[in-house]
Symmetry: D2
């Protein structure tokens, strides 16, 4: 019988930047009995979810829900709107932006990858992995594409591998300034429902997202929020798609159903999570994340360690990447923290492997859990022989102690 | 907060041919806290699942698990092994075989659809939807394909839309008799872990399956069991694939992981379900389904209504389709039964809409639940004015009363 | 690890007259994390429950909730109000009335047991176990107690061992007619939230109830609803009590707490169940039970078997006892039905052991489940060689088919 | 619908000395469907639990399980063995010892309460509430009871209100030295399955315990482990008992059942918890608690605050009481910590109200959770203006960092 705990006691601290800790309410919702996905109760559930999910993306237009994880929703965004050989402009802000470009190539598109062109003392070989999307580079490239061959601009809102949040509105302005018709596609897999996000206002054509971050669900469902322009583009797109095809899903969604079997029990969880987010209010959700992130950065500053994100205006409210000193293997540190303190940290991905770790501060967590994470990391750093300038735990606790205006009497 | 019951009392009877009723053990397993999909506990879980799932398919070769529903696994089977324009031979046994062919066309393949060429009094416009795959037609077509242009033969093992189970071993023999190199791809979405199935022994190259039938899970994960020959074919296949790509998944699976975020909580459920199936024993699972199916057919016979499947040797152990008399709308009957008795029956799909209904008898059910289903249908038929030859409930109860050798004292 | 299913598939049919089937919503509620029983959240939960539970008893006065099963609440009722040697008048309607009298004796009271004085052909040795409380006998006895030595009249509202529901209002009138000051204590363990019950209107002084019947909870908490008169009596009662002491609990309940650790997780379930009952409406709950009971009696009548309750005006809406023909061991029948059909029936208790069985039709069930129960019993009777006059399943199905005005389109 | 979280995010930290945090496995076990408490599956479950629970008490004799919380098991111990007016010798080590004496009086016994007769500078009015049972005082008193009027000696093993663990073997030796026939009754409600406990070896006659501490269950079931001598005494005891009566329960327990409805779903949880304890091994469980307790005391020492327990040899492995400085209301501190950090601490009970708080470190917890608790308390102390000598968090983290020999690679 399934035992996940390997005979340890107590709760594991899941502090990776997603999957984030799933609330008890959601876990219990997903364990309700599976129903007929073609029956009337399902239709009512579907209609309700499909309406409410729009509020999370801040869109008046359809949101497609896939029984797939986020990578599938990336593929769906491309496959529904583009044709073989289409050039697409990507911006490399980190591992996930890089993987998306790789996928585009794999699907037969022609990705052109822009990246930060400056230097970085801390990470000379990956300066762009410490910074956000540069809208000016995009604008410049689009202006030069007079024939409008480029069909889409693809950027990552919150780069989960680095903890950098880019300014999507600026990208929209850049495209508009270049008067370019390319679609704007945004991966907000880890940004949605943590950091402010506005699909309609920012003129995004396809927003890709997933369940296991700000939505506080287990992984397994993912999203495409689509603009009328993206929908129009899908009519002439020639990349093959079947499972991902928007048109059949949109037709079935009219009455709350899907053309094939949806992930019923995860939709139960989504229904519950949407209720929770609505009850709290999205703006309060964003404020909560900003407050947490500020505290964690104060802790890292107290340690005297560099934050992966080198641009304060791009600090992520979702996660904070911390660069380990030369000679300190971040993965060994993570393993030590895992074994000693039953706490999972995010690993350095791709170019960053072993060079940094990621502290998640998103979703269904709270001040004390983040203090615990900080204490575990601090203890791990000490055990690893890293000299620390000061106590991150003290800095974080002081930060939280000075705030908390929401604590009622 | 999520309420699924609309203030009704008691348990709903989910008697569609999938999703099948999920056992409490599985529901509780999927509600365990989500863990880090890159952590050591996950790797151990993954290794275990990936080993055990092979036993269900009766294969010594890899089984790919997708965070997607069954339709995605169809696409994966085609996308990993074929190239644009490849002719594939499909056999239309019903709605799902038909949909798979439609998908093949949508993906840029050239499906050629074989079908039963005889007549049927009961359903003159859909004679093939009452019968199994005709291996002789396949053999004949393959013999004529001297240039070996046909790259794959795609058939459905247990056609969920009709309740017809085809002889897969016979298809294998037909391909061999024609000495044709085409891959054999089989959809056993609703057959697996209900009806006998032997991926290796029957020489299947790709078996497609899903979670929500014999595996007794909610929908949301699906499978490709793959032969060495299929794996070899995947190296030269040129249909674009990224999310579905076997190679990256197989590489990550070596250590129990996935290249992107898997559907962690449904994998918990899979682990639990695999334990249950192993505890019971697959042969006992198959015997149980045969026993149930025999009883349900006795009930339908007692009513004097025609079974959708016209070939006794192809009767499905998973579900039984029942054709309603002329003038009796099967969907109105289903609605009546749903409203009066809180029981969901499967609808007639595609060509069969309104003309038949499907009684599921699979997975986590038992004798008395099937008697209840039969009683509800019988009452619904009477309320709909259908003259019945006799009591199906009595026939079924007598059937079960005469058996049950497994009931210990 | 806990496995309850012994490798069977499907859901067990729990058709005993309590514990009744617990709704999924309640099961999930009781699995929420235990909280501090002295913290503010608990106080809010407690206040809410203590207010809402009064509606179920139809009382404006306090209801005590014990972390104990129903037998404990019996003891509490006696121990809080009476003194050693106090005569109490009990009325033997069946096994549970009998056990309560036995308990009174064990606690040092002097129970005097009245019983039906007529004859019964079917059960000559237990005529009273087929009938309700005779208020006239009580009135008569109380009139003769001119010294008012009798301190309490104890009766069972719905006798779970027989399926007989007594007229409590009539008992009240009898006491009043005799102008006797005795307290009226009523066991409505299996009646509450199934059959109409009115603590205040009927002038009951202490109502004893439990969680595992109409309240649809697991066993483990129980109740004393108390009148001002009972509360007054408790001040001079001299039976020792500590755990059961009303006064300390009432004091703590003022702010939503208990003097000792309450059964927190079952209180979660109670909160959920109270919501469900309120949403449905108590009168609708009663109507639903009456409707079910009518159907089951129609089935028993069709079989031609005698109902345990010999007085139609006392038929229980909660359960129906069925007397097996001479020579047919009801327990062997129950065992057969359990083994063949995974269905639990209530056994004959005390004097009725082996002579009857009890069919529960209460709480979280529905029409089709009751049809299934009837089919299982009918099959079991046939397998046991009992000649049946007709089909109970047909009678019950026809009964339900003719009703169901609540089924919306 | 039940919402316990009041819209907060993250998990509450339940750090009171019971109820302790319930493991997910146990929560899911208690949410399994309720079964027939008279059916064969229940009997098998009951037999298994009744056998395994003995191992926890380290007894070869019966353990009674009550559907009641711990206070009920106190009453049961007294009511089954004693007669009205019996003198019982109690030893006041804190609030719970005091409450047990109060209960004895309420039940009609004659408790004589011994207490520490020395002085204490820190708590001059409650010196005994900082110390363990003094076996010499008991021996002395028993020697003086030449007529053997005293029928029982009642002591608390782990005093939950103070964090003092008494030496039960020494009490046994004291009784033996006095050659006195009194029964030895021990409350190990919060000690069992946390601190070493040996019912048989220490010659305890009745051990009282509960579910919500070391057994890691929700509250609602409780225990009497009974010696042959206690059982013999019960035959002549004359305190009234019915619900608590050992004899009827023991008779029914022979086949795994109870004479009245047991708390089925909590028994599921008990079954699961027993499995977990057996898997880990009791000695390892004790070592784990000692290790935690040592760390927490190091933290309190670093703060420079006095520990409630003044005798190092009686330090509790279960909880640590901390005395707040004069002028600092411990309840205000607890409230502040609750509001700011979603963490519940134990309150000062009885004489200690407002003067100390209790940090629980028992059951299903782990190092990092205890660090989090310490951080929250430390922040709360600072916010309350308490001058601290040093960092408790650092001391605790260093303590844990230096240990953990069980962490495998």
């Amino acid at each position: 019988m399934l035992k996940l705990d390997f005979h340890r006691t107590g709760n594991h601290f899941l502090q990776i930047p997603g999957p984030s800790p799933v609330p008890d309410r959601v876990l219990r919702a997903i364990s309700l009995p599976t129903i007929d996905h073609r029956g009337p109760e399902f239709g009512a559930l579907g209609m309700n979810i499909l309406a409410e999910i729009r509020e999370i993306f801040k869109t008046a237009h359809p949101v497609i829900i896939y029984p797939a994880s986020g990578t599938g929703a990336w593929e769906a965004a491309l496959a529904n709107t583009l044709s073989p050989g289409d050039p697409v402009l990507m911006f490399e802000t980190g591992h996930f932006a890089s993987l998306w470009a790789k996928m585009a190539a794999r699907l037969g598109l022609e990705p052109e990858v822009l990246a930060y062109d400056g230097a970085d003392e801390q990470l000379p070989d990956a300066p762009g992995w410490r910074r956000g999307v540069q809208a000016d580079l995009i604008e410049d490239r689009l202006r030069r594409d007079r024939a409008h061959r480029i069909k889409a601009v693809c950027v990552v809102h919150n780069e989960t591998s680095t903890g950098v949040t880019s300014d999507i509105a600026a990208v929209r302005r850049a495209i508009d300034a270049a008067a370019h018709p390319a679609l704007l596609m945004v991966d907000s897999i880890s940004g949605l429902a943590c950091a402010d996000y506005r699909h309609d206002e920012w003129g995004v054509d396809v927003t890709v997202s997933g369940s296991q971050k700000g939505l506080m669900l287990p992984p397994g469902i993912s999203f495409n929020a689509i603009s009328p322009k993206a929908l129009e583009a899908s009519k002439s797109a020639r990349l093959p798609q079947a499972y991902w095809a928007w048109n059949e899903i949109l037709a079935a969604n009219q009455t709350g159903y899907w053309p094939y079997t949806p992930s019923t029990n995860l939709l139960y969880g989504l229904s519950e999570a949407l209720d929770m987010l609505r009850d709290e209010g999205l703006e309060q959700v964003f404020a909560r994340h900003e407050r947490w992130a500020g505290g964690i950065r104060a802790a890292v500053a107290a340690w005297g360690l560099p934050i992966q994100c080198a641009q304060p205006e791009c600090y992520s409210p979702v996660l904070t990447g911390v660069i380990t000193p030369p000679g300190v293997d971040a993965d060994a540190l993570r393993k030590l923290v895992y074994q000693r303190f039953d706490l999972s940290l995010g690993m350095g991905l791709g170019k960053l492997k072993g060079r940094m770790f990621r502290m998640g501060h998103l979703g269904n967590t709270n001040d004390l859990t983040l203090i615990a994470m900080t204490a575990a990391v601090e203890a791990g750093l000490k055990l690893s022989g890293v000299p620390l300038a000061g106590s991150g735990v003290d800095a974080l606790t002081a930060h939280f102690s000075s705030l908390r205006p929401d604590a009622a009497a």
